[in-house]
């Protein structure tokens, strides 16, 4: 059979164009012979995720959407690093800068946009740049190694993400913005100010209401001068002030542009057989700069080109989410108050949550969420579907993230199959639903793993959950499904723990058998969890399963990214002596340890040790393991306290040492850090520890559930006690209660948040309960042994875990 294929040429190897082609190949795999031109030297990648590359959370190779093999498998001819420079719409050919001419039957222009560079005097100096491509990103990362101070001009989404990236790269950064509120096009004043405060807290410095006048410096930029005469220093300036549709090529060829390439509802331009999609296109007067609408356009274009019946593209409602860790911001639709609109607002200044929903004629038309964005996708859905809310209670619109009011689940029911659920990865409702049906998926995590939906920014998780409910019907229990330990089981943590207790289950495999695990040996999520629960329930009889432990806990050393390990001996309360220090130094020399570092918990970290050297090194150190790797007690940080400090009223060092000696080696659901401060000045930072102790007038205050990590949380006052003995007793009860009720992997900060501090307080204050908890803690601690010592004493452990076999 020799049906001649039509020739399809795509100019622009970016997100919109390639997505359209991908759709097209699914609909009509044999209809076209596809050729793609791209100016950049990369296969198609996810531009959205550049911010994660910049912030160090991803590598370039992680953000590739279609690797070269994809093009090959689909018989697509790809020319990267090659720019199309002219189109002849009469002969229907395109020509590239390398002199290649290719003819087309259908041509798609998806040339994206160009970053707008403000034509300031000095803008041509070295160190002035845009933020758009992998190349830009690489330049920024490179520069950060040499230079210290960056300025980002533009306080919009892109500028803020760039600024955050610079912080991660170790640079100081100012964000310059022309008006007095940042992200003003997405946020109202309240949310904007909250965002600014949150980002300032992270270390970004803002220069608002500043108009840039001139970039100063000789060859390379040294600063930015403003119209008001002031100057800010900089050795790198990034302009993130907007984009312009990239239409030079189209214009040249006589395709109508104003300012973007004008397209109709089927993405056709005024020239026959020439289409445009993406940021370069202008549809009904709007050029979109976000991926979700571009994918919606692509879906219509693909159907049109495939000859499949399709409705017109009628425009999109925009929503945005800032991808900066630690701040959750969402905005969508028309969120500013206007005539004829009413708003529902929730503003909780204690927890830093702000929510606003704008309503017009009983329909939601826009929303701004700050601090808690879980409702975002659902609200967007209601905006798109123009849900009539007259029957709903006004506050439940905001707080009900579940199905309630017939809202969410029925919302997804009405969505079309090709509606994009996950904008980051372009996954449609249809794809998700068929994956759920065909592959028997039951949890959001499984959907994520199978379809990549919600894998990038996670904003669509609630919708995925709704789709599960919608597809599986009653058999999907949202809450239970969320709670299962992992995809291997339908059971929750509580059910598993109850079964272990009630049925007296005694090892990991037995639990899996009895509870009908789907995978015979489980996975890397449930195995460590079960091992923990079993040990927590029967500390005296359970034999720890080292094959169910993560590498660090199995090896009792932290694996580093190059495969070497780090060794951290225990230094009780951060207090040491010259003999100990000398020994550590000698061992470091003896084993050629390349780096010795003080850790955040006041100990010495010997980094870069080979696995085969570990046991010998521990023997030479002759110190206990510092458990710097475990879901266990890590350190007890102390200040110098009354012994040396002029403010101190409590002996923080002694208390810290005693606590560390008491709880070292204790297994806990997640890592646990303690601190003791000698007075309310709190130099040991006790407020952000799992348990913090602070000496106060006439006693000690205990703070619970603090955390200084990814999500900073200040601890809640758990109790005020008089004596040092009581500190130990309350800590025992508190930690044991956490051990017994915490989920594996759940930090005390999350746990306290979940169960409520009042509840924890009640339990710990109750004398009878406290006594029992302390007894059980005693049992748990009575059987622990130092793992380094065990390894030194056991040839079998050395052989099984640390040996490396070198042949020849």
């Amino acid at each position: 059979m020799t049906v001649k294929k039509e020739k399809l040429v795509l100019v622009g190897n970016g997100m919109a164009g390639v997505n359209a082609v991908e759709h097209l190949l699914k609909l009509a795999p044999d209809k076209y012979e596809v050729t793609i031109f791209g100016s950049e030297p990369h296969p198609n990648y996810n531009r959205i995720l550049l911010s994660y590359v910049l912030s160090g959370d991803s590598k370039v190779e992680d953000i590739v959407i279609h690797p070269y093999e994809w093009y090959a498998t689909n018989n697509i001819t790809l020319y990267t690093n090659q720019t199309v420079t002219s189109i002849d719409t009469v002969t229907q050919t395109v020509t590239s800068d390398k002199g290649l001419t290719v003819s087309y039957d259908k041509l798609i222009l998806a040339t994206g946009s160009n970053p707008f560079m403000i034509p300031l005097p000095g803008a041509d100096k070295e160190g002035v740049m845009a933020y758009r491509t992998i190349r830009d990103c690489e330049i920024m990362i490179e520069s950060a190694k040499k230079y210290k101070k960056a300025i980002v001009i533009g306080g919009g989404l892109l500028g803020l993400e760039a600024a955050r990236g610079f912080l991660n790269l170790g640079m100081k950064v100012d964000v310059v913005h022309i008006v007095d509120t940042i992200m003003e096009r997405q946020l109202d004043r309240t949310a904007s100010k909250m965002l600014q405060a949150a980002l300032e807290e992270q270390g970004i410095h803002f220069l608002l209401e500043k108009q840039s006048a001139e970039i100063i410096g000789d060859k390379r930029v040294t600063g930015l001068k403003f119209k008001d005469g002031t100057v800010a220093e900089a050795d790198l300036i990034v302009m993130a002030v907007g984009i312009r549709p990239n239409v030079a090529l189209a214009k040249e060829a006589g395709v109508e542009c104003n300012p973007g390439i004008i397209v109709n509802d089927y993405l056709q331009t005024n020239v026959p057989n020439v289409f445009a999609v993406g940021e370069c296109a202008m549809h009904r007067g709007i050029a979109y700069g976000l991926v979700a609408p571009l994918y919606e356009q692509g879906a219509v274009l693909a159907k049109h080109l495939a000859g499949v019946e399709t409705g017109p593209y009628e425009g999109s409602i925009l929503y945005t989410k800032l991808k900066v860790s630690g701040v959750d911001v969402f905005s969508g639709g028309q969120f500013v108050d206007a005539e004829g609109t009413k708003a529902i607002r929730i503003h909780d200044e204690f927890t830093g949550v702000y929510k606003k929903v704008v309503i017009k004629e009983n329909k939601i038309i826009g929303a701004v969420l700050f601090g808690d964005t879980a409702d975002g996708t659902r609200l967007m859905q209601m905006i798109r579907e123009e849900t009539d809310i007259s029957g709903m209670s006004k506050t439940s619109i905001l707080t009900d993230s579940g199905g309630g009011s017939g809202g969410a689940a029925s919302g997804v029911a009405d969505m079309k199959n090709d509606a994009i659920i996950c904008g980051c990865n372009g996954v449609t409702k249809g794809t998700i639903c068929s994956a759920i049906r065909d592959q028997g998926l039951t949890t959001v995590d499984e959907v994520k793993n199978c379809t990549t939906a919600s894998r990038s920014c996670g904003g669509c998780k609630p919708l995925v959950s709704d789709l599960l409910a919608f597809t599986l019907g009653d058999s999907y229990d949202k809450n239970a499904a969320k709670e299962t330990i992992c995809g291997c089981t339908t059971h929750t943590r509580d059910e598993v723990v109850a079964a272990i207790r009630d049925k007296g289950l005694s090892n990991v495999r037995e639990v899996m058998n009895v509870m009908a695990w789907k995978n015979e040996e489980g996975c890397s999520k449930c195995r460590p969890a079960l091992n923990y629960y079993l040990g927590m329930i029967s500390p005296e009889t359970y034999k720890d399963d080292s094959t169910s432990r993560f590498v660090n806990e199995r090896m009792h050393a932290n694996i580093q990214k190059d495969g070497t390990y780090s060794v951290v001996p225990r230094i009780y309360g951060g207090v040491t002596n010259p003999t100990e220090l000398k020994r550590i130094a000698e061992v470091a020399e003896q084993f050629n340890v390349p780096t010795v570092k003080f850790t955040g918990g006041q100990r010495l970290d010997l980094l870069g040790v080979k696995k085969e050297d570990l046991t010998a090194m521990w023997e030479a150190l002759d110190m206990p393991s510092g458990y710097a790797y475990g879901k266990a007690l890590r350190t007890v940080k102390t200040c110098v306290g009354e012994t040396f400090c002029r403010f101190g009223t409590g002996d923080s060092m002694a208390v810290g040492i005693e606590l560390e000696k008491r709880f070292e080696r204790l297994n806990t659901p997640a890592k646990v850090k303690l601190a003791v401060s000698g007075c309310p000045r709190n130099c040991a930072e006790s407020g952000i520890k799992d348990l913090g102790v602070v000496s106060v007038d006439g006693g000690w205050e205990l703070y619970a559930g603090g955390n200084g990590g990814v999500k900073v949380r200040v601890g809640d006052l758990l109790a005020t006690v008089k004596t040092e003995q009581e500190i130990i007793e309350y800590t025992e009860a508190y930690l044991q209660y956490y051990r017994e009720t915490g989920k594996y992997g759940e930090r005390t900060s999350e746990w306290v948040h979940r169960v409520g501090i009042e509840h924890v307080r009640e339990v710990v204050m109750n004398e009878e309960e406290r006594k029992q908890l302390c007894e059980r803690m005693d049992k748990a601690l009575s059987v622990t042994q130092d793992p380094w010592k065990q390894a030194i004493d056991s040839k079998k452990i050395q052989r099984d875990l640390y040996e490396v076999v070198e042949i020849k």
Binding site: S524, T547, R554, G563, L801, V804, V805
Partner: protein
């Protein structure tokens, strides 16, 4: 896909008895580093010791049935085929193994470059 190497040198590694179940053993031979596993079923599997994602050390991963989870970012790798499981992609080299009468494990290293993945 893996193409079977024509020529293999069999090198003596460790004794079957001395290998712990579900715990990877690092084997170095010339420029190659292999993770050798004895699965719960008793079967042996040997794969290249570096994860295709960011070179996580696979010998140190948690083994479940015939998969190993990379200790770095949890990619799941099928031991018999070396294939990284969806939604991630990629693969690692696999090596043949055999055990002699004495219970010594041998690993087959291809002499040609054919054993691509």
């Amino acid at each position: 896909m893996k193409t079977q190497a024509e020529q293999v040198v069999w090198v003596q590694a460790v004794s079957y008895e001395d290998l712990a179940f579900n715990t990877g053993k690092t084997i170095r031979y010339q420029d190659e580093e292999v993770a050798l596993f004895k699965l719960r079923s008793g079967k042996l599997q040997a794969i290249q010791n570096r994860c295709p994602h960011k070179e996580g050390v696979l010998a140190e991963g948690i083994v479940c049935d015939d998969h190993v989870f990379c200790p770095m970012h949890d990619r799941k790798i099928h031991l018999p085929s070396g294939l990284v499981q969806a939604p991630d992609t990629g693969c690692v080299k696999t090596y043949h193994t055999r055990v002699d009468d004495e219970g010594t494990i041998y690993i087959g290293f291809p002499t040609s470059e054919e054993m691509a993945c």
